[in-house]
Every structure is written in structure tokens, then in C-alpha cells.
């Protein structure tokens, strides 16, 4: 039995240790936000955070996630309030089919956590997930907007 914390809740799964985290989340724990796109860590539709770090869960054995905090797109918002990335995604009307967007937003949120004011080059380097619909231009704008919102939100808190 492998124990994990998924979006703040303790969960367990009786599965093979080599089973990818993606399939444990999707098929065993019914957490459907992380998507299957390629199975070889190319597209990033399966991106989740493990202890705050973005990982491509299709190629990440569940045993490596044991005892760790897993956050999926379902857990990105706090108290039902959209994360700044989610709010910016809506404001810029980023998604088209939307299938990759959970993974994209998880990648963007991880970037902003490390780098609250990313340059275009930083965004280029961090955002390597595939969007087949081609929403990249709006993603870039939305990340800048989310960065601004994140900085704005933090200022009063610090003051």
C-alpha cells in the first residue's frame, strides 16, 4: 500500500511501485485533472507538483511519490478562489480545447513560485509543454499578468 497526500488529503493505493503516478491518480484515485498525452514525458499534459516541484507524472513511478505532497490542477486554487494563473488564463482566454491546459497551468504556477517576475526568456525555458491548439501567445501574456497579480497580492501582505 503506497501512501500519498493528494491535494491536501491523505490517499493510499495498492498498486505496483513502478506504476506511473499519472495512472494512480487517474484510474485508482479518480483525480482526472492530470491528462495522458504521450506517456514519455514529452508533452507535459500530466504535469503535477510533487512537494512543490513540477513533474511529468506519466513517467514518474508512484513509489517515488510515496509520502510526498501531490498537487494537481484540482488543488491549485485555494478555498475555491482561482490561483492567479487560473484567473489570468480566464482573463486572456487562453484555452482552446483545454486538454493540455491543466499541465500548462501547473508548469506556469511552478515557474512563478520560483521566479515571481519571469522574463520572456524565463517563460520560454520553463514552458515546454505541448499545446496542439497553439495557445502559446496567450499563455505568455497570461503568465505576465499572473506574475503582476501575484506581486500585487504579496505587497499588502508584506506591508
Amino acid at each position: 500500500m503506497i501512501k500519498l497526500t493528494v491535494n491536501g488529503k491523505p490517499r493510499s493505493a495498492d498498486v505496483e511501485p513502478e506504476m506511473p503516478l499519472l495512472w494512480v491518480l487517474r484510474d485508482v484515485l479518480d483525480v482526472k485533472g492530470p491528462k495522458f498525452g504521450c506517456g514519455i514525458a514529452q508533452c507535459g499534459a500530466c504535469t503535477v507538483h510533487v512537494n512543490g516541484e513540477p513533474v511529468r507524472s506519466c513517467s514518474f513511478p508512484v513509489s517515488a511519490a510515496a509520502g510526498k505532497r501531490i498537487t494537481t490542477i484540482e488543488g491549485l486554487s485555494q478555498n475555491g478562489k482561482p490561483h492567479p494563473v487560473q484567473a489570468a488564463w480566464i482573463e486572456h482566454q487562453v484555452p482552446q480545447c483545454g486538454y493540455c491546459q491543466g499541465g500548462q497551468m501547473m508548469a506556469a504556477a511552478a515557474l512563478l513560485k520560483k521566479n515571481p517576475n519571469p522574463s520572456d526568456k524565463d517563460i520560454d525555458d520553463a514552458m515546454t509543454n505541448i499545446c496542439r491548439c497553439g495557445t502559446y501567445a496567450r499563455m505568455r501574456e497570461a503568465i505576465h499578468t499572473a506574475a503582476k497579480a501575484g506581486r500585487g497580492a504579496k505587497k499588502p501582505a508584506k506591508a
Binding site: E16, M19, P20, W23, R26, D27, V28, D30, K32, G33, K35, F36, G37, C38, G39, I40, Q42, C43, A45, T72, I73, E74, L76, S77, P82, Q86, A87, W89, I90, Q93, V94, P95, Q96, C97, G98, Y99, C100, Q101, G102, M105, I123, D124, D125, M127, T128, N129, I130, C131, R132, C133, G134, T135, Y136, A137, R138, M139, R140
Partner: protein
């Protein structure tokens, strides 16, 4: 059966069906007045007609009959209803029409397919009439109540107001309005007066997507559901000769290994276990003669079509091309090739099916729910009315989920082996890449002649390719479906119908059907032929010593819409203005799916063939722009889709099978590679064009013409990676 799955508006659907009595009108003969399906009332609201339901709390339900795959029609189609209805857009909820309901009501909601960029252009009239009819009924109900002439009443923002100042909201009028005889003829608004349509509206499905709550076909979950992984014959058309499942059977979670003739399936208690066990199933495939086919042999096959004297159809003939080519002017000849392409929807093909007590429930991301229903019925061997198709959001469509329906056939065939148990069949990325219905490869021979003044006097094209219509749709190539007997309309799209003033034109089609299955790929023929047409147009312009814009302008004097978008795009791109050293431009223009598009690329090319696109200006005239921001999004997406295809896209064949398998060898563009795209949205009115596909049409030739300007290298074969050209 219990399902955790939330189907929107499921409860209202049930009551709606109970209330539904008669269907007015029919799709086949003039779908003018939308169906009035019931004279209902109660807590669910009053159904004014098949498209509009008004609830007492002022919520307006607008029904949507097509698919949503990111093209945005689930928002823009209801916007047209709301516009005429004069309701408050903020109070609108969208309800998905089900294929089984449409079948039961003699297709009262019309065509349900989202293909060919036609959701808006083919349904706009009946949707607007539905809204206008409902509005007139609501006004009539208020007029009756007040005992005043309807002409003294006006509707706006969900309220009917009398000239005396009396007001009644739609929610209070709906029950009475539903009982009023629908007007036979309604006047539609002049688009100049639009208040909802024509304005940039947020898409209705985006909030759920952003919050991770959107549910796709792959996300279906049911109690007791099993999961299937499948392997089809690696060589198209092959069959299972024998199968040894001993290593897979008995593995943890594996419930069954099934030999289904053209494919094998492993069914397990989760998909990963099924997929892992599938690797251990030994299959001896009977591949037949196709096992020897290669990309080289296919090229020979298509080239033979270019040289053939027989089995050639003429798509268009104007004047005498042979005589004009022999008339002594400058003659140009060139061959162009575009490869097979996979769709690569990011959500791989999948279909969940429960067969129980003679009923078939299908959960599938589909561009054509009616075709899914028919395929499921035929595969399961049940009548059409025993099938329920639950439409899901699509993780990409691009034509893959329209005509073929192979994913439904396979999903139902798997579930047939497990009656009473829901089974989700999911294709791996490798299976999805190697068993697609590919954009056809196409080889085209071009000939053109210029007179002494540099005016083109002859245009000859012969296209050699597999016909989608003949092999996938299996329809005879005859007018009006085909431009001429034996001509696939997609194979010659944008070549046979060139609007340019050239006195002698002949366009021929060599239908050469290979074993590689083909299908509709976003923009279909217009994804490849504009590359041929507009590149060759540049060859002619430069041979004539003329500016590419001026050359086209002169030839488009009798094609005002083509000329209009060409000029608008050239102007936005400052065509002709000086460029920084090392930066070059290319231009192209094409009509596609009823819209007019143009592109100007500004780029530089390094000594090593690395292309940096500094700016891509994309123009589109769709006639009317229903949701302008969505059109901009579609154009931006089209740029990525086409640049991906033209730089890297190529499905090759070896030993009868596809060589590419996943994104490491079938490359997708990424964020860092996205160039600056500027969209020129120039709706000129008077016609309705599509927006999902046209944006791609002019991009490849504009980029290749700019590459020629930069390097002197004429690109006649795609993708660019095979021509020593890469993307910065």
C-alpha cells in the same frame, strides 16, 4: 448503472423528452422555422422552441447541437440565438443536444457535425431565426397580456417593454409565449445593430477548463468500469493470423485478452496494467502485400499519376493550355510535394462503452455525434434507437474525430466482449500516431506560361493523391459533391478554383489510392494546395520580374474579396517598406472554407538554414465576425498548427507501416518557437465564412516565399526539416 459523471443538464433533458410531442419542419426541406417541440411549462422552464427555453428565474437555456473542441462554437453559435432573442447574455446557459434526441425528432436540430469550419456558416440562419421567432412570441405574449398591439412593444435584455412604459420579463412571459403560434416569417437584425454577436465574448467552457473541472472523453469514470489497451495491425489492412496471450493472461488486473481480427485488446482493471500486458501479447499479423510499401514506392506510385495518360479526370478547363504553353512565351514547370500528416489530438482516441440489455451507451469525444451513434449501432448490431451517445468535450479534433469513427467501432467491438461491464478503450500515443486517418500526401505538377509583357497566359496543374471522399467517405466523385466527375474536391481545393484572371487553365486529378488510410485533417486540401498555388504564383511573378503583391493584385481584379484581404494584410504588414538588413518578406492569399485569408511573413535565414520568423501577419475576411476574440485565437492557433506541419510534419512509411510513433519523432511546436502573430480581422459583410481552418491556408506559401527572397532557394517539398531548414 451509476455514473459519477456529470452530464450537463441531464435532468432537464428527461423532462424535455417527456414533454416533447410533435416536430415542426424538417432538415431536408428548408429548415426555416426551427422546430417547436413542446408547449411546456413548470419548474424546468418553458420551451419556446427547440433552441430556446426560458426559466421563471430568467435563466435562458440555449441549446447547442454541435461539438466543442476548442473552436469556440459552443459560445458563438448560442450568441447568434441570443442576439435575435434580445436576452441578457449573462443569464444564458448552454445545453448540449443529444444525437439520440435529434434522431428521435427527425433531426430537428439539423446537422450535428463540427467539421469543415461550418458550424456557424451552415447554421447561422436557422439559429438566428430561432432566436427571432422566440423573441416575437415573447413580445406577442406581453401584447396579449396588456391587450395592446405587438407593434407597440419592444424586447431588450430579456424584458418586453410597451410604449407606455409597462415591462414584463421573459421569465414571466415564457409560459404564455410557448403557447403562441410561432410567426412564419421573422426579420433578422442587420449585423450593424448586433449587441452580443460581433463583440468579444468570453467562451462559456473556459472557466471549467481553467479550474481543472472540464471533463473529456478520457475522463469518464463509472463503477465497475474496466480499461482496454489495443494494438491494430502495424501494416494497414492486416489481420491477426494467430495470437499467443499466455504471457499477458494471469497478470495482475488483467481480465481478458481478445483477438478481434483486425486488432487485439487487453482488458484490465486499470489502463496502465492493460497497456503493460499488451506488450506481452505475441501476435502474428497477416499483412498481405502491403507489407512491402515504403515512402519511396508511394512516391513512385504518385509520380506515375503525374505521367499517366489514362485514368485522369479534368477538374477545370478554360481556353487551351497546351496551345498557350507552346506559344513561345516563358514557360515554368515545377513539382511540389506535401507529405502525409497525423492529427495528433493531444487527447488520444478513446471511447467508453456499456452494452447491456440490448442498449448501447457510448461516451466519446466526437466531432459528429450522429456518426458515432450510427457506427455504434452498426458495430453492436442494434437498432439506432438502442444507442445513446453521451457527448464529451474533445481534447482536440482537427478532423480526426469526424468522418472516420474508427475509435467508436473499436470501442464498441471491445465492449461487446464484456457485455454488462463498461469498458474504456484508450489508444496509446503510439497507436494514435500509427493508426490515424492521415492528411493525404500529394504530388503536384505545375506548368505556367508568361507572355512577352510578363502576364500569365497558361496555368496547368495535375494533382496525384489518394482521394479522401472515395476511400473514407466512399462516395462517388460526381458533381455537385465533386467539381467534376472523378475529381476529389479536397485534392484540388484552391487550385482548380483559382480566381486569378488567366486565360488558359487546365487542372487535372489523378486519383491514386494507396493503402495508407486518409482523412480530413484541419484545413484538408487547403492545408497543402495553397503552398503549391501561391509558391508557383511567386515563381511566375519573379520570372515576370514583378513584385509578388503587384503581380497578384493585377490578376485579382475580378475577385474583390480575395483582393480585399490581400491588400488589407499587405497594408498591415507595410509591404514594400524597407526592412532591416537580412530580413525578407513573403506574401500569399487564399480563399478557404468561405473565408478569405492572406499572410505576410517577415523572416531571416542564417547561413546554416535556421529560420527566424520576426513577424507573421495573418489576414482573414470571414464575412461576419461573430466572436472576434475567438477568431483571433483561431488564427493564432492556425499559425502554430501550420508552422508545426511545414517545419517538421511528416509521416513516412517503411514495410507498410508508419515510422513515427510519438512526439519525439513527430515533432510539435513549443512556446519558445511561437513567432509574433498579428491578426488582421477584416469582416467585409455579405457572406458567412468559417474560422477554424482558413487561417492555415496562406501561411506555408508566405513563409516559403520569404525563404526564397532570403536565400534564393525555392521550397517545393515539405517539411522544411528535410530541406536543410530549421526553426530558430
Amino acid at each position: 448503472m451509476t455514473t459519477k459523471f456529470a452530464i450537463k443538464f441531464a435532468s432537464s433533458r428527461r423532462t424535455f423528452l417527456k414533454r416533447s410531442a410533435a416536430v415542426g419542419g424538417g432538415l431536408a426541406v428548408g429548415f426555416n422555422v426551427p422546430a417547436v417541440l413542446a408547449q411546456g411549462k413548470g419548474t424546468e422552464g418553458a420551451e419556446i422552441n427547440g433552441w430556446v427555453v426560458v426559466r421563471p428565474d430568467e435563466t435562458v437555456i440555449i441549446r447547442y447541437a454541435r461539438a466543442e473542441m476548442g473552436q469556440g462554437s459552443k459560445t458563438s453559435a448560442p450568441m447568434l440565438v441570443a442576439e435575435e432573442l434580445e436576452c441578457d447574455w449573462k443569464k444564458v446557459r448552454i445545453e448540449q443536444v443529444l444525437a439520440s434526441d435529434n434522431l428521435r425528432h427527425k433531426r430537428a436540430w439539423g446537422d450535428m457535425a463540427s467539421v469543415g469550419s461550418r458550424t456557424i456558416r451552415n447554421s447561422q440562419e436557422y439559429l438566428r431565426k430561432a432566436g427571432a421567432t422566440a423573441r416575437e412570441m415573447l413580445i406577442a405574449a406581453a401584447a396579449q397580456k396588456w391587450d395592446v398591439p405587438a407593434s407597440e412593444c419592444k424586447a431588450s435584455d430579456g424584458v418586453v417593454t410597451h410604449s407606455s412604459g409597462r415591462r414584463l420579463s421573459y421569465g414571466k412571459l415564457a409560459n404564455d409565449a410557448a403557447k403562441i403560434e410561432p410567426p412564419k416569417d421573422v426579420k433578422l437584425k442587420d449585423p450593424k445593430d448586433w449587441k452580443i454577436a460581433g463583440k468579444p465574448m468570453q467562451r462559456v467552457d473556459i472557466p471549467e477548463t481553467a479550474m481543472g473541472k472540464q471533463r473529456y472523453g478520457i475522463d469518464v469514470q463509472m463503477k465497475g468500469m474496466l480499461y482496454a489497451a489495443v494494438a491494430q495491425s502495424p501494416v494497414f489492412g492486416g489481420k491477426v493470423r494467430s495470437m499467443d496471450a499466455s504471457k499477458a493472461e494471469g497478470r495482475r488486473g488483467v481480465k481478458k485478452v481478445a483477438n478481434l481480427d483486425t486488432f487485439v485488446a487487453v482488458i484490465a482493471d486499470n489502463w496502465w496494467r492493460a497497456k503493460e500486458a499488451l506488450k506481452l501479447v505475441q501476435v502474428d499479423w497477416d499483412t498481405g502485400a502491403n507489407g512491402n510499401v515504403s515512402s519511396a514506392s508511394l512516391m513512385d506510385f504518385y509520380r506515375a499519376g503525374l505521367d499517366a495518360k489514362e485514368d485522369i479526370a479534368v477538374a477545370r478547363k478554360v481556353g487551351d493550355v497546351d496551345q498557350a504553353l507552346a506559344s513561345g512565351g516563358k514557360v515554368l514547370e515545377a513539382e511540389y510535394f506535401t507529405p502525409y500528416l497525423a492529427h495528433s489530438t493531444l487527447e488520444p482516441q478513446n471511447c467508453t462503452v456499456l452494452i447491456k440489455d440490448g442498449k448501447v451507451d457510448v461516451w466519446v469525444p466526437t466531432q459528429n455525434a450522429e456518426a458515432s451513434l450510427a457506427t455504434a449501432a452498426a458495430t453492436a448490431g442494434v437498432p439506432l434507437d438502442a444507442v445513446m451517445v453521451h457527448p464529451m468535450q474533445l481534447g482536440g479534433g482537427f478532423g480526426r474525430r469526424g468522418g472516420g469513427q474508427d475509435f467508436v467501432r473499436i470501442g464498441v467491438a471491445v465492449a461487446k466482449t464484456m457485455e454488462g461491464t463498461p469498458v474504456k478503450t484508450l489508444w496509446s500515443r503510439e497507436e494514435d500516431t500509427q493508426h490515424d486517418l492521415y492528411r493525404p500526401a500529394s504530388l503536384v505538377r505545375m506548368k505556367g506560361a508568361l507572355d512577352a509583357s510578363g502576364n500569365p497566359v497558361a496555368w496547368y496543374s495535375r494533382v496525384s493523391s489518394t482521394s479522401i471522399i472515395a476511400t473514407l467517405a466512399r462516395l462517388p466523385l460526381k458533381p455537385p459533391l465533386a467539381p467534376a466527375e472523378g475529381v476529389d474536391p479536397q485534392a484540388v481545393a484552391s487550385i482548380f478554383d483559382i480566381p486569378h484572371a488567366i486565360p488558359n487553365i487546365r487542372v487535372e486529378y489523378a486519383q491514386r489510392n494507396a493503402h495508407v488510410p486518409v482523412g480530413f485533417w484541419r484545413t484538408v486540401g487547403h492545408s497543402q494546395n495553397p503552398f503549391v498555388r501561391e509558391s508557383f504564383m511567386d515563381e511566375l511573378a519573379l520570372a515576370a520580374g514583378k513584385d509578388p503583391l503587384e503581380f497578384r493584385r493585377a490578376l485579382l481584379q475580378n475577385a474583390p474579396k480575395d483582393l480585399g484581404i490581400l491588400e488589407a494584410t499587405a497594408k498591415a504588414a507595410n509591404w514594400g517598406s524597407p526592412l532591416p538588413s537580412g530580413v525578407f518578406r513573403g506574401i500569399a492569399e487564399t480563399e478557404a472554407y468561405g473565408s478569405y485569408t492572406s499572410a505576410v511573413a517577415e523572416l531571416s535565414v542564417s547561413d546554416k538554414g535556421v529560420v527566424k520568423i520576426h513577424r507573421l501577419v495573418l489576414g482573414i475576411d470571414p464575412g461576419y465576425a461573430v466572436n472576434p476574440d475567438n477568431i483571433v485565437a483561431q488564427m493564432q492557433g492556425s499559425a502554430v498548427f501550420m508552422l508545426t506541419a511545414m517545419f517538421w510534419g511528416e509521416i513516412t512509411i517503411k514495410d507498410g507501416r508508419v515510422e513515427q510513433s510519438n512526439f519525439h519523432d513527430y515533432r510539435m511546436m513549443r512556446l519558445r518557437e511561437m513567432p509574433k502573430v498579428e491578426v488582421v480581422l477584416a469582416p467585409s459583410g455579405g457572406f458567412w465564412g468559417g474560422v477554424g481552418e482558413p487561417g492555415q491556408a496562406s501561411i506555408a506559401p508566405a513563409v516559403c516565399n520569404a525563404i526564397y527572397a532570403a536565400t534564393g532557394k525555392r521550397i517545393r517539398t515539405l517539411p522544411l526539416k528535410d530541406q536543410g531548414i530549421s526553426m530558430a
